[in-house]
């Protein structure tokens, strides 16, 4: 079923970026993979819709944001793990934890709204339009939030000045 192959290819390609985005959006290492998995399961369930969506990446990141936003408090992506993955050691785990910790401290200088924009636009490298669609905000807001976020992060020497332009 090419639908399935298509999905498998999509997952394989997007997995690492989704997990990293989850970490940058505030998830702990052990939560990030659950969150990515939950998001992709949701996408699989609605694969027709994702395929039909004008923009798959925007849709997937919208799902990621929804999963984070609506379920963060109830933490079901942390708690619910109906078919646990076989243990796949990721390095020794301490490296991931150390990086995540540093990332969270750096990102804490931004408001949540700024974090969302900077993660999706700058790190995941969605386009401005995709970022706007994923976050449900106007493209102009993406631009202004991004420039403020980049300024804040570079002031703290976390990022080089962002040249802007289209990606």
């Amino acid at each position: 079923m090419d639908d399935q192959d298509d999905f498998a290819a999509f997952v394989a390609e997007r997995w690492a970026t989704l997990v990293r985005a989850a970490v940058f959006l505030g998830a702990a290492p052990h939560e990030a993979e659950d969150l990515a998995q939950t998001t992709l399961v949701l996408c699989y369930r609605k694969w027709d819709r994702v395929q039909g969506a004008d923009d798959r990446d925007a849709y997937v990141y919208r799902m990621l944001m929804n999963t984070l936003r609506s379920d963060r408090r109830s933490s079901w992506w942390r708690k619910r793990d109906p078919h646990p993955l076989p243990d796949q050691p990721i390095g020794d785990g301490t490296e991931a934890a150390a990086i995540a910790d540093a990332v969270h401290r750096a990102m804490a200088t931004l408001t949540p709204d700024q974090q969302h924009v900077v993660v999706l636009r700058y790190f995941v490298q969605l386009t401005e339009a995709q970022t706007a669609a994923a976050l449900g905000i106007p493209a102009g807001t993406v631009k202004s939030r991004l420039s403020r976020s980049i300024a804040a992060l570079s002031a703290n020497h976390h990022l080089a000045e962002f040249a802007g332009g289209s990606r």
């Binding site: 379920d71 990721i90 995540a100 790190f123």
Partner: protein
């Protein structure tokens, strides 16, 4: 390269779990494709795929084979796909109600009166929840729902007296809501709003849409119970606005929220006909019986089927073809499963069955209703309160109806029967497509005993996969908690054991251990890190008789074969935990390692207990709260970690 970019690139990730995601997705996937419906009913159900009929207005879609459903195409579930058959006509349905009614009408009206099984869940005394865990990882803790309520099923919200969306907090007191802004240093009341003809309210919150569920007090309403559902727009918190008010005949016996979808189980009892009462004079018995039989024989569908009124006049809630006939062993009446979107509460989907149901349990994907037994409308379920063991007379078998859920629609897909009684919704749990239930039966010498049964849908039946009997012979089940492959159950009377059951082999549930400790738990909560908190009571005896006191125990369940109690805190004499009968009175704060839960005391005061888990011990703090009704004492955690205490009419932040 700067540090954040470096971190992005260096962050290690595992291989993409493609197969697991696809497997899980397939399991959860509801509707992918359906054959074009021919002549109404689709006969063949494809395993694991809901049967749907395309709403094509008569013209069948072109092209053979399967037709992919676009999400925008209206999808109508075939409401009854299993053994329950929908009525063929309104005449047939009315005839059935009359015939069954005639069998039970007496010279004094309905045999046993017109009792409702409804609302039992609010006093459901058993604690349990679906907390799927991993085989290789410890059982995880469970935080409250996104609206701040301690719920049975993760992702399925339950109505309560107070809710928050993170920035607003809303509480309801009878017919009046109060809206608070909780973004500042202290909760600030920004508005109140009273609902006309409304009482006993509980609320759900979907974003800034509030859904209040209560009883209808319209003066012109009939004498039978009527329910009212009011929705309120809170977008402008200072000026909440009622956007709809819908009344239903019957009692809302269960309400659940999945995202924006709200689902009600509405129980409508036997109709209030103008019955004669035999007065004991000669012949009055026969005359009254003849009169009453005549009333039933001439009753109409208006008498039997519930109506819904969203302000433009009452209309029949259920189409006759959407009402299925339940076996005669299920108490007569009507149970409706009503779904709607929070933003469109007047656009309801509803299907019904001709019986009253006792227990409603809703997982993420399914609704399970148990048939109320033959004790005519009385909630024929044992109340497992250890202090007074109830009789289990009459209920030796319980019917379970399984409904598949799709958006606001429901479809009956399978029926099963188990020996014994099912106490309440907390006795049931679904994991991985398998229903696990705790039942209580009476063995030959009259003593109750509990069992764990696993059931799985096969075709149109819920088929028993395995069972474990003999849990607590002579004892009453007081609490159960379900995990992906384990269960923890507590019984009480003599020795108060805490049982651990391995459900890994569904055909052979296995008893792993029994910890005998003084006192029993009426509510269990998993804390993660191999810890379980048990809230319950200790019963002691002295010359003046039985004395009870609330107690809270911390258990190490990292090895379920050897559960150990690490710490226990006992409260004063005659205290009683509220969470045992009302799990919404419990809050686990994972970030604070603290559980909050309330107790009633002898002098009517309510105490709030803070139990902090420190290095496998239990720190305890009790505060007296200014409230007299335990259901008005609630604690909620906001997304920023602050904790709100509602006590009666006061709302404040709790410093931990």
């Amino acid at each position: 390269m700067t540090d954040l970019e470096d971190a992005w690139n260096r962050y290690p990730t595992s291989a993409a779990p493609v197969a697991e995601i696809a497997a899980e997705g397939r399991r959860m996937r509801r509707v992918r494709a359906a054959r074009p419906a021919l002549g109404g009913l689709v006969a063949a159900a494809v395993a694991a795929v809901l049967v749907v009929a395309l709403d094509t207005g008569g013209s069948s879609p072109t092209g053979g084979g399967t037709t992919a459903l676009s999400p925008h195409q209206p999808v109508r579930l075939v409401a009854f796909q299993a053994d329950l058959r929908p009525a063929r006509s309104c005449a047939q349905l009315l005839n059935l109600y009359r015939q069954r009614g005639l069998r039970q009408v007496t010279a004094y009206g309905w045999n046993g009166g017109n009792m409702y099984a409804g609302l039992a869940e609010q006093r459901a005394p058993m604690g349990a929840a679906a907390v799927p865990d991993a085989q290789s990882t410890p059982i995880k803790g469970q935080a409250s729902s996104s609206t701040g309520t301690n719920v049975q099923e993760v992702g399925v919200d339950e109505p309560d007296g107070v809710k928050t969306n993170g920035s607003l907090l809303v509480r309801i007191d009878g017919d009046t809501i109060a809206v608070y802004d909780v973004t500042g240093d202290s909760p600030k009341r920004v508005s109140t709003l009273a609902f006309p003809y409304f009482a006993d309210g509980q609320i759900l919150l979907a974003g800034t849409t509030l859904i209040a569920l209560g009883s209808d007090r319209e003066p012109s309403a009939s004498q039978t119970p009527s329910a009212r559902v009011v929705t309120v727009a809170l977008a402008d918190a200072a000026h909440p606005r009622i956007t709809s008010s819908v009344s239903y005949d019957g009692v809302i016996s269960s309400a659940r929220q999945h995202g924006n979808t709200v689902r009600l189980v509405l129980t409508t009892g036997l109709p209030a006909l103008a019955f004669a009462q035999a007065d004991g004079s000669p012949g009055s018995q026969a005359r009254a019986l003849a009169t009453n039989r005549g009333l039933v024989a001439h009753s109409t569908l208006r008498d039997w089927l519930p109506t819904v009124d969203s302000g433009s006049g009452a209309r029949q809630l259920l189409d006759c073809g959407n009402v299925a006939v339940t076996p005669a062993s299920v108490a007569l009446g009507t149970t409706s499963v009503v779904g709607f979107q929070a933003n469109a509460p007047t656009a309801t989907s509803a299907i019904g069955i001709t019986g009253q149901t006792a227990v409603a349990y809703e997982s993420a994907d399914h609704l399970y209703l148990t048939g109320a037994g033959t004790q005519m409308g009385f909630c024929a379920c044992p109340r497992p309160l250890a202090a007074h063991v109830m009789g289990y007379g009459g209920v030796d078998r319980t019917a379970i109806f399984q409904f598949d859920l799709l958006g606001d629609q429901a479809a009956h897909v399978a029926t099963g029967t188990v020996a014994g009684a099912i106490a309440d919704r907390w006795s049931m749990d679904e994991a991985g497509g398998v229903l696990r239930i705790a039942t209580t039966s009476v063995i030959s010498d009259g003593s109750p005993t509990s069992s764990v049964v696993t059931l799985k849908p096969k075709g149109h039946s819920l088929v028993q996969l395995g069972r474990l009997d003999g849990l607590g012979v002579g004892e009453t089940l007081t609490s159960a908690r379900w995990f992906d492959r384990y269960a923890v159950l507590s019984t009480a009377r003599q020795t108060d054991p805490l049982f651990t059951v391995d459900l890994g082999n569904l055909a052979h549930p296995k008893l792993l251990g029994a910890l005998h400790i003084p006192g029993y738990s009426t509510y269990f909560h998993p804390l993660g890190n191999g810890l379980l908190l048990g809230v319950g009571q200790n019963v002691s005896f002295d010359s003046s008789g039985e004395r009870t006191q609330a107690q809270v125990g911390l258990f190490d369940i990292s090895d379920l074969s050897h559960v150990r109690r690490l710490a226990v805190t006992s409260l004063a004499q005659w205290t009683s935990p509220v969470a045992g009968s009302d799990p919404h009175a419990f809050t686990w704060l994972p970030d604070h390692d603290t559980a909050l839960t309330s107790f009633t005391s002898q002098n009517g005061r309510i105490l709030l207990g803070e139990f902090k888990v420190v290095l496998r011990t239990l720190g305890t703090k009790l505060i007296s709260v200014p409230a007299s009704d335990p259901s008005t004492v609630r604690t909620l955690e906001l997304p920023d970690g602050r904790v709100v205490l509602m006590a009666g009419g006061s709302v404040s932040f709790l410093s931990l």
